[in-house]
């Protein structure tokens, strides 16, 4: 069996592991369009902050890839010939496949406004982006980050660490709009300001002039470096051209199979089911990309046996020592929630009846593992138990129902132990 994977990021690594869990012999070729080897995108901010310390961004080592018998080819795919089961590369090379995985990921969104092509306007998505930024940044200059999502925040952190004056501009009403609630955003905002990152919400970029950014409200800010972090859009062109079923992202069935039985897709390029809301959407998250890749790999190598149940939104990020973890979604606009707050710690949980549907934890990462899994596994825990937990949210106070379930799953017999 000959496996070809377009894209060399997290989903691709998951797929390698998935394929190799079943098929130890088949050849695996990764088409690395970026030509940078297999690396982890979230690490670029660490690279920018401390280029010497984080030179190596490899997600898996070269030995690891060797060990799994993976052939990494530099080159990007320009066409998929489904009838001949071939991929055409930019340099005309033709790679044939038995099973193909599209894991092309996404690209930063760049608005079509004047001045956006200025040399000091950058995106923050690839190693090349970081290297470009690195070459122009100067300590003490003003950096403006447009967009306060995960990428924007990590960019802001690393630029701040490099000694720039950093401001983050958000078009929505509060920072990290996809992750935080208004209440928690307020707190994080204060902590960020203390840490030296200025923020400004409700401002939409309209134009970029010489060393200056203009906003819809009339605000005008001086700027030396402008980083666009306004979200991403999936790389679906290849799939569209090949005639695969595509919506916002590539459409796949529960086995990660596209409308072509020999072609699978995984990672940021696909639409998946949000298991809290039940809707199909793009969930560009690293843990999900790995899982999707893995399951796609298993299904590609064997019979279609491993169904993907979907995922939940989850994020953990550290900005200048402020830890923010969040998982889940709100099934309705109005959802009941409970809040606990102490010093610089904050926890907000959202309840949908007896089910936890979302939480936001600021500087309280210790309890988030069980919270995430309570959401993902849809474990029913009564509201009064949550109320008790929220009086002092520690692992020991976590509802016993959860621990009992975990222990039941482990289910060891003492007599059989060593």
């Amino acid at each position: 069996m000959r496996y070809v994977i377009i894209g060399g990021c997290i989903a691709a690594m998951g797929a390698v592991e998935g394929i190799r869990s079943i098929d130890k012999k088949g050849s695996i070729t990764i088409l690395d369009g970026e030509q940078r080897g297999v690396y982890s995108r979230p690490l670029i901010s660490y690279y920018l902050a401390q280029p010497d310390r984080f030179k190596n961004l490899a997600y898996r080592s070269a030995e690891y890839l060797d060990h799994h018998g993976v052939d990494v080819m530099k080159g990007w795919a320009v066409q998929i010939d489904r009838s001949r089961r071939e991929v055409v590369l930019h340099d005309g090379q033709i790679i044939s496949y038995d099973r193909l995985l599209i894991a092309t990921g996404a690209a930063p969104f760049i608005p079509d406004i004047s001045g956006i092509k200025a040399p000091w306007v950058k995106t923050f998505y690839t190693i090349a982006d970081v290297e470009a930024l690195d070459s122009i940044l100067t300590k003490g200059h003003n950096a403006l980050i447009i967009g306060s999502g995960l990428i924007g925040m990590k960019a802001a952190e690393s630029l701040r660490q490099r000694g720039l004056n950093v401001s983050v501009i958000e078009k929505e009403r509060h920072i990290l709009p996809r992750i935080l609630s208004p209440e928690s955003a307020n707190m994080v905002n204060c902590l960020l300001n203390e840490a030296g990152i200025k923020t400004q919400c409700g401002e939409e970029l309209t134009a970029v002039n010489e060393n200056q950014a203009n906003f819809a409200s009339g605000l005008c800010l001086p700027v030396d470096i402008l980083v666009l972090a306004m979200g991403t859009k999936p790389h679906i062109e290849l799939a569209m051209d090949a005639g695969l079923k595509v919506n916002q992202g590539i459409m796949v069935d529960e086995y990660l199979q596209t409308s072509d039985e020999n072609i699978y897709a995984a990672g940021d390029v696909i639409e998946t089911r949000n298991i809290i809301t039940g809707t199909s959407e793009i969930m560009a998250l690293l843990p999900l990309a790995h899982r999707e890749g893995y399951l796609a790999g298993v299904n590609m190598a064997g019979s279609k046996s491993c169904a993907y149940e979907g995922g939940i939104f989850m994020n953990s990020l550290n900005i200048l020592g402020i830890s923010i973890c969040s998982a889940g979604s709100l099934p309705r606009a109005e959802t009941e929630f409970l809040v606990w707050q102490e010093d610089h710690k904050y926890l907000q949980i959202f309840l949908d009846g007896d089910f936890l549907c979302k939480y936001i934890a600021v500087n309280l990462p210790e309890v988030t593992g069980p919270l995430t899994n309570t959401i993902a596994d849809k474990i029913r825990i009564e509201k009064r138990l949550w109320q008790h937990f929220m009086t002092s949210p520690t692992l020991s106070a976590f509802p016993d129902v959860y621990w009992q379930k975990l222990r039941k799953e482990a289910n060891y017999d003492y007599n059989k132990c060593s």
């Binding site: 979230p42 660490y46 984080f54 843990p287 989850m314 830890s323 973890c325 692992l395 020991s396 132990c417």
Partner: protein, 141 residues
């Protein structure tokens, strides 16, 4: 391999945490030295809940969410199946903390990295198991 904790025999004495801390960071089980001269950071935690006390330790899951969710590839599995942290690579994003269903992986805030059980893979029998006075911890396959 993993350490399984039995609440029915756990006394909550806390020796597991103490010996866990002493076994790591080059202290080779010298409890006195790590507590007097070092920074005792135990990996596994003793929890106290309704059902009693138990050591919250790593299950070294087959499909370990911490490995799959690690952004830097710092959490790895060794040939014996032990899931451990490569401190050369850990950047302290706490994704693993957020993903661990047992709440076992925890932040090592002063180093901006994470702590988790590595089954004392450099020294043989896990220190918590070897020093549990009541056999409440057992190493199982």
């Amino acid at each position: 391999m993993k350490v399984v904790a039995w609440t029915e025999y756990c006394l909550g004495c806390g020796l597991c945490e103490i010996y866990c801390a002493a076994q790591h960071d080059g202290y080779n089980g010298n409890v006195l030295k790590i507590f007097k001269k070092g920074r005792p950071m135990h990996r596994s935690r003793l929890l106290k809940a309704e059902q009693g006390t138990w050591l919250n330790t790593c299950m070294h899951c087959t499909h370990a969410p911490c490995i799959n969710g690690c952004i830097s590839g710092a959490i790895k599995r060794d040939p014996n199946g032990i899931v451990y942290v490569d401190y050369e690579r850990c950047v302290g994003c706490y994704s693993c903390v957020m993903l661990c269903p047992h709440g076992h992986v925890r932040p090592w805030s002063e180093r901006h990295q994470v702590l988790k059980c590595d089954l004392c893979r450099d020294t043989g029998l896990p220190s918590c198991v070897a020093n549990c006075p009541n056999g409440a911890l057992q190493l199982v396959d």
